[in-house]
Symmetry: C3
Amino acid sequence: MRLFDDLADFSLAELDSLIELAGHLDRNPEPRALEGKVLSLLFLNPSLRTLASFQAAMVRLGGGSFVISPEMSIHGLESRDGIVMDGAAAEHIREAVPVIASYGDAIGVRAFAERDNLEDDLADRRFRELAALTDVPLINMESAINHPCQSLADWKTMDDLAMPKQGGRFVLSWAYHPLALPLAVPAATVHMAALRGMDVTVLRPDGFELPEAVMDKARAAAELSGGSVSETDDRREAMDGAHVIYAKSWSSTRHYGDQLGDQGLRQELVDWCVDEPWFENAKPDCRFMHCLPVRRGVVVADRILDGPRSVVIEEARNRMVAQMAVLYRMLKG
Amino acid sequence: MRLFDDLADFSLAELDSLIELAGHLDRNPEPRALEGKVLSLLFLNPSLRTLASFQAAMVRLGGGSFVISPEMSIHGLESRDGIVMDGAAAEHIREAVPVIASYGDAIGVRAFAERDNLEDDLADRRFRELAALTDVPLINMESAINHPCQSLADWKTMDDLAMPKQGGRFVLSWAYHPLALPLAVPAATVHMAALRGMDVTVLRPDGFELPEAVMDKARAAAELSGGSVSETDDRREAMDGAHVIYAKSWSSTRHYGDQLGDQGLRQELVDWCVDEPWFENAKPDCRFMHCLPVRRGVVVADRILDGPRSVVIEEARNRMVAQMAVLYRMLKG
Amino acid sequence: MRLFDDLADFSLAELDSLIELAGHLDRNPEPRALEGKVLSLLFLNPSLRTLASFQAAMVRLGGGSFVISPEMSIHGLESRDGIVMDGAAAEHIREAVPVIASYGDAIGVRAFAERDNLEDDLADRRFRELAALTDVPLINMESAINHPCQSLADWKTMDDLAMPKQGGRFVLSWAYHPLALPLAVPAATVHMAALRGMDVTVLRPDGFELPEAVMDKARAAAELSGGSVSETDDRREAMDGAHVIYAKSWSSTRHYGDQLGDQGLRQELVDWCVDEPWFENAKPDCRFMHCLPVRRGVVVADRILDGPRSVVIEEARNRMVAQMAVLYRMLKG
């Protein structure tokens, strides 16, 4: 494997095999598998889980890693083409990325959406530009429109819970948050759940529809796997018989890149905080998922996070476990 | 071993055995003992020695570690219960601690005193709350009222110097410092020296008595080990026949959490800077100890730190060595 | 090897052997060579390549490292002697350096020029003071006047390209940059190329002559190796038949430590930006070298960096490879 950027690049059999390998490596440590191997970790945006879980994954397999994050570089990294660099930035990504990649056997890159232009972000333009700068095997550690490591971990978490694929009802719900957040996690999640063969409902208020390109990709995955994808703003309808609700806030597509317009729409929606009444007509053991970090009392009530529905810690731990499988496939001789 | 939080949790035989193991691992490296093992390091306060020595200890034993410190997290970590997180903090410790712990085979946590309330700090409330969030084996890397890694290193440093246990005279002396500092090191140190069987004198100016709970715990340790504990503000009396003086500044208990009150008392005490005349009636080879960092010319004179009395570098190196023993006991299969 | 501070400390045969070892370790990994070994990395100035390449080098050889950089320490590090530390700095380098060194089997130290006083910087006074504080094997990771790791990597890069030693024409050229930069790289580079036996021309505008001590050292190296050293401000003359141009900006020696005087001289020299016309009378395949980071459109034109002349990524990767050889010689039992 030379690229881990999108679950859509893999067959269902390949994904099952990756998840099986993840579980196997978790139960049967191989602390010399990647001895002497190096993972370069380039963060253009902040991180906690990704930073920690990739470092831990490499140690568990006997290798190691190093981290470059923007606050470490001398004066930030320039990314514009053809620019005369007479300002603050002392280094261009055209040098930084290939150099950092050259020290590793693989490189992980995190680059969030710029959220100036929806088309650019849907095309993952910034991440594509960074990825094009190196031939070293590459892992997407969250880009404008994807987060394949999170999705693989979430898939495994549902497998661990023996949650049904065919017939499993998966609700991806928008939730309130004071800030306009990127589309990467919702876009990756709706696709992942559809690809897993589940009946996926996107529950979101008016104005927060996911972009058509995101929905189309999820529908294509559902067609492949025997799942389905629908959307609604009706909570009762969405939660009917649900096995799991996956909460996440995201920007208004309608006001993409327009902070004020988004705020105007968003400020009326503070009641979109997942709480026990939401589960009224769901399966009795309906689970709560979230990629973290999560704002308590804003996105979800404390009693959900602290109660038996929540599997957010399991999801986070599975980040490390899933990434071990990816790294093993990518780096084991 | 699943918890290394307080020397008081261990028998004298267990502590001797830990220190013997530390020396053994230092002389006879075991670079594969912990292969594939991960130590999670969570710093809620800054660090130099602890940060470096734990990372080095894990590498020497063949494992690895990762570091999360507050400036890395997206917007700081919220710790208040039941709060609606609509401010700057994007993550709560109730998620952060179990997630970070889940990537490791053990976790080290540093959380200094909040110094709002003496009772809370004496009860190590903040650290207890963090520790209660995970079942993973846990190491106290300095809390409000304890610093067991420092104490184990200091114990070993005195053993290395063949400093007597029974009959050894240990002076813990307050020293001047421009800021009001936490009680963790003096509290841990008076207890450690008493537990080691030494005759311990706490030398401090009026207003800087250690809290009664701290003195009681040290006296109980002395009872167990055959040592003794006393306190005085008389330098000559304290230093009479001393084998070692351990200098450290700390807050005024009388003005705990009251910055102005503490300053008023403190500003008259700039002559509490350890210098050669202090040693007039001590043992000729009386040693100087300090946990570092130390302010030269403020806490202690240059000629002491740079002279033969000082063993501060040996103490600091023994941090790594002592921690290797703790990690070995905690993580070796 | 206990010190890697200056290529001048090694014979030509020793340098050839180091470079051969570097290539050997690159082609034939030895992922257990340094198991359990620790490299302490102390940065008193920022870094990207050095930070990443040393960490990666240690992992590839089976050991590990830890990083201390100034923003991590509690309140910065004091370095003045005899000072009463009642200000912001909580720790003195007289403790910090030996402590950090004591956790490693070797220590790397980066300390840029202070650029107050040319004599001090030419004597590498700051770095000498830091180095004198420890007996642990030590690597210069760039000091006021040297950068031996960069020079070893550059030497290997030219070997990889089969660039001639005797008769090879090496141009070290000053280039425009908005800031007055240190002398470490130009001083190390002119010496390295001369020691490699090349005919070295220093091309620089009036006022940017390298200090006499730097030129004298390079001339002595040329004498040893059969190379030569000259200087000029005439671009055509310098580039005539050149195999390689190594671009770098540096401070005006004439206005050393005088920011305004330097700027007055520098601001007229924005056309010192390496571009294709510079290569008119050079060898057709004349290469472009730079230590990075480099300002595009300021120091060098995009088309050079992005074209076939540039070997800057190879130089950067060779940092890791060359350092592996240094670490292997220093730390392998």
